[in-house]
C-alpha cells in the first residue's frame, strides 16, 4: 500500500514537471499555428526555424554570452577564492557577505541599477553591457561552488611542492588546481545556466538590435509566440537530455569494461 502511494506521488511530480514540456514538444509538430487545433503532423516549423536568421542570431548571442560570461566569471571567481583564503577571518566573512548579496537580491534591482550605472558612465549599450552584467551576476555562483572545495584543500601539499623546488605557478596548476577542478567545473556550469536563463537583467542592459532568446521571445507577445520557438525549445531540451543521458551512461560502461 505504502509503495503504491509512493509511486503515485512520484508519478504526479514527474507529470507536473514534464507535462508542460511534453505539450510544447507536441505543439512543435502541429501544422496549425494555434494551440487550440491539431492541424496535422509537420516538420514545417523546424525547417522555418533554420531559415529564420533572427532566431538563429538570438540563439547564437545567447550561447556566446553564456559561454564567455561564465568563462570569465569562473576565472575571476576562482581567483577571488584563492585571494580569500589568504585573508583574515573578519575580512573574509565581510567579502563573502558582499558576494552573497547579489545572489539574494531581486534580478530587477540588479538590472535597473546596472542600467543606471552604464548610463551614468556613458557606456554604450550593446553586447558588451550584457556581457558585463552577466559576468557580474555569475561571479557569486562560482565563488559559492569553489569556496567549499577551497576549505577542504590541504595547504601543506602546496607548501611541499614549493619546498621540492617548483615555482608557485607550477605548484598551483599541478597541486592546487586539480583539487579545485570539480568545484570550478560545477561553478562554471552553474554560471552558464544562470546566464542562459536570464531575462530581466538582459532586458535592462541590452543594446539596440542585440537580442538573446529570452528577450526575443518576450517581444513576440503582441503577435503571439511563433511555433518556431516551440521547435527550438524542443531541440534545446532534447540536446540537454541526451547530454545528461550520455554523462550518466559512461561511468557504467567503464565499469562493465573493467569487469
Amino acid at each position: 500500500m505504502k509503495t503504491i502511494a509512493k509511486r503515485i506521488y512520484i508519478a504526479l511530480i514527474i507529470l507536473f514537471l514534464y507535462a508542460p514540456i511534453g505539450i510544447l514538444m507536441v505543439l512543435s509538430f502541429n501544422e496549425s499555428k494555434t494551440r487550440a487545433k491539431w492541424g496535422g503532423f509537420t516538420f514545417k516549423w523546424y525547417i522555418e526555424l533554420f531559415q529564420n536568421e533572427e532566431i538563429l542570431r538570438a540563439l547564437f548571442n545567447t550561447l556566446l554570452i553564456a559561454l564567455v560570461s561564465s568563462l570569465i566569471a569562473t576565472v575571476i571567481g576562482t581567483v577571488a577564492c584563492i585571494a580569500m583564503t589568504g585573508m583574515k577571518r573578519r575580512a573574509k566573512s565581510i567579502l563573502m557577505g558582499i558576494t552573497n548579496i547579489p545572489m539574494l537580491n531581486a534580478d530587477i534591482v540588479t538590472g535597473i541599477s546596472l542600467m543606471l550605472l552604464y548610463i551614468s558612465l556613458g557606456i554604450r549599450f550593446g553586447m558588451g553591457t550584457i556581457l558585463l552584467s552577466h559576468i557580474t551576476f555569475n561571479i557569486p555562483y562560482v565563488i559559492l561552488s569553489v569556496m567549499p572545495r577551497m576549505r577542504q584543500l590541504n595547504v601543506s601539499t602546496y607548501e611541499a611542492a614549493l619546498d621540492l623546488g617548483s615555482s608557485p605557478l607550477y605548484a598551483f596548476f599541478k597541486v592546487v588546481f586539480p583539487d579545485l577542478l570539480p568545484g570550478i567545473l560545477s561553478g562554471f556550469l552553474m554560471a552558464f545556466t544562470m546566464s542562459l536563463d536570464d531575462f530581466i537583467i538582459t532586458h535592462f542592459t541590452k543594446g539596440v538590435g542585440v537580442d538573446t532568446l529570452s528577450t526575443k521571445i518576450y517581444t513576440e507577445i503582441k503577435k503571439g509566440i511563433k511555433p518556431e520557438m516551440y521547435a527550438l525549445s524542443t531541440l534545446i531540451f532534447v540536446t540537454v537530455l541526451s547530454l545528461l543521458v550520455l554523462i550518466n551512461l559512461s561511468p557504467a560502461e567503464k565499469k562493465k569494461a573493467e569487469q
Binding site: S32, K33, T34, R35, A36, K37, E53, E54, V68, I72, V75, I76, V79, I82, A83, M115, Y118, I119, I123, R124, F125, G126, M127, G128, T129, L131, L132, I135, L162, S167, P168, L169, F172, G207, V208, G209, D211, K216, Y218, T219, E220, I221, K222, K223, G224, K226
Partner: protein, 358 residues
C-alpha cells in the same frame, strides 16, 4: 622572495580578469554612424525582407530593436541609453510623447510616399492624439470589437450591451487591460472613452463589477486560441486578430458594436534627438511605398492605412473586407485613446483594481 612572486602572479591575473570585459566592451562600438538608422518597433511588426530591401536600395544600415508594450518602450526611449531615430508607438503614447516634447516634426516634402499613399481618413483619425498631423505617420491600425461563435449564440451579437446578457454567463472573454475594459463600459453608456468625469467613471466601474460574474476570464492574447478552440462564445478582440481566427475557425464572426468603439493607430514617429534624421525620413518613406506596405500587410495581417497598398491586394475578399477595412466615415462614435496624464492613469488603475478585486 617566493611569497612575493606568487603575490605578483595573483595581481596580474586579477588585473587581466578585470580588464578583459572592458576590452570586449570596446569592440561593440560602431564603425560608421552616419550610414545607419536605429528603429524601435513592436515585436513581429515588420516583414524582415523589407528591411533587407531598404538596406540594399539606400545603402543605409538598419539597426532594428523591438519592444513588447508601449509602457516598456517609453522609459527606454526617455532614459536615452540608446539614441533611437524612429519608434512606432500607439496613439495615446504618441500624445504623451508629444506633451513631453520627445518628438520631432515631420517634413512631408521629404516623404512623398507618406503624403501620397496614406489615406486622408487615417490622418483625420490621428488628429485625436496629434491635432495637426505634425508628428505621426500611420503604420497599422484596427478596431476593437466583438468576436463571437455563431454556433454558440442564439442571435447575432451587435452591441456591447449583449456582453451583460446572463444567457452568456461563463462564455464571455474580456480584455485584461484597463483602457480596453473601461472603453467597453463607457461606450455602452454613451460616454467618451477618454473621460475623466468622476461620475461617469464610477458608473463604468459599477457596470464592470456587475458584469464580472458572467465573465469567464480576463485575457490578453489567449483570446485567439480560446475562441478558435470554441472555449468561449463571445470575446473582445482586436480586428487584426479577427481575420486570422476566422481562417482557423469559420464559425467566428467579428463585429464593430453599434455603440461605437476604439480605433487604434500605431504610427511612425521621429524622435527629437534622432542622430540620423535624414535616414529616418528615408526609412519611413520607404515603408510607405505601396509594394513595401503590401508586404508588411501580408506579414503582419493588421489593417494598413496605405490606400495604394490596399489596391494591390490580390484576394478580393480581403481587399474589401469589412473587418480589415471598415469605412470609418460610416461611424460617428469611433474614438482614439488619448493620454490622460499621470493623474488620469492613476485614477483608471485604481478603479480597475477595484473591479479586479471585487
Amino acid at each position: 622572495m617566493k611569497k612575493h612572486r606568487i603575490y605578483h602572479i595573483r595581481q596580474t591575473i586579477v588585473a587581466l580578469a578585470l580588464l578583459l570585459p572592458v576590452a570586449l566592451c570596446g569592440c561593440a562600438s560602431d564603425k560608421d554612424a552616419s550610414r545607419q538608422v536605429i528603429v524601435y518597433n513592436w515585436g513581429e511588426y515588420i516583414d524582415p525582407e523589407t528591411i533587407r530591401m531598404f538596406e540594399e536600395e539606400s545603402g543605409i544600415k538598419v539597426i532594428y530593436d523591438e519592444f513588447e508594450t508601449n509602457e516598456s518602450m517609453y522609459p527606454k526611449v526617455e532614459s536615452g541609453a540608446v539614441a533611437y531615430d524612429i519608434a512606432c508607438p500607439s496613439d495615446y503614447m504618441i500624445s504623451r510623447m508629444i506633451q513631453n516634447g520627445m518628438l520631432s516634426e515631420i517634413d512631408y516634402d521629404k516623404m512623398p510616399n507618406a503624403k501620397k499613399n496614406i489615406g486622408a481618413q487615417y490622418y483625420e483619425q490621428s488628429r485625436g492624439f496629434d491635432p495637426e498631423n505634425k508628428y505621426a505617420i500611420p503604420y497599422c491600425w484596427g478596431t476593437v470589437g466583438i468576436l463571437y461563435n455563431k454556433t454558440m449564440v442564439d442571435e447575432p451579437i451587435t452591441r456591447w450591451a449583449q456582453l451583460w446578457d446572463e444567457k452568456y454567463a461563463d462564455n464571455i472573454l474580456m480584455q485584461d487591460s484597463v483602457r480596453d475594459a473601461f472603453m467597453v463600459a463607457e461606450k455602452l453608456s454613451g460616454n467618451s472613452m477618454n473621460t475623466l468625469d468622476a461620475e461617469e467613471l464610477e458608473a463604468a466601474k459599477n457596470m464592470l463589477i456587475k458584469q464580472k460574474p458572467l465573465v469567464q476570464a480576463y485575457v490578453v492574447d489567449q483570446v485567439r486560441d480560446k475562441m478558435i478552440g470554441g472555449e468561449a462564445a463571445i470575446g473582445v478582440i482586436y480586428s487584426g486578430e479577427a481575420i486570422y481566427t476566422q481562417k482557423e475557425n469559420p464559425d467566428l464572426v467579428y463585429v464593430i458594436p453599434e455603440e461605437g468603439t476604439n480605433v487604434w493607430i500605431d504610427s511612425w514617429v521621429i524622435l527629437k534627438n534622432a542622430p540620423n534624421k535624414e535616414n529616418a525620413e528615408k526609412f519611413i518613406d520607404f515603408m510607405c511605398r505601396e509594394d513595401i506596405a503590401l508586404m508588411n500587410f501580408e506579414y503582419i495581417t493588421y489593417s494598413t492605412p496605405n490606400v495604394a497598398a490596399r489596391e494591390l491586394i490580390e484576394e478580393e475578399d480581403i481587399r474589401n473586407s469589412e473587418i480589415a477595412f471598415p469605412d470609418l466615415s460610416q461611424y460617428d462614435n469611433l474614438e482614439t485613446y488619448v493620454y490622460l496624464g499621470e493623474d488620469g492613469d492613476y485614477l483608471y488603475n485604481e478603479l480597475w483594481k477595484e473591479v479586479k478585486a471585487y
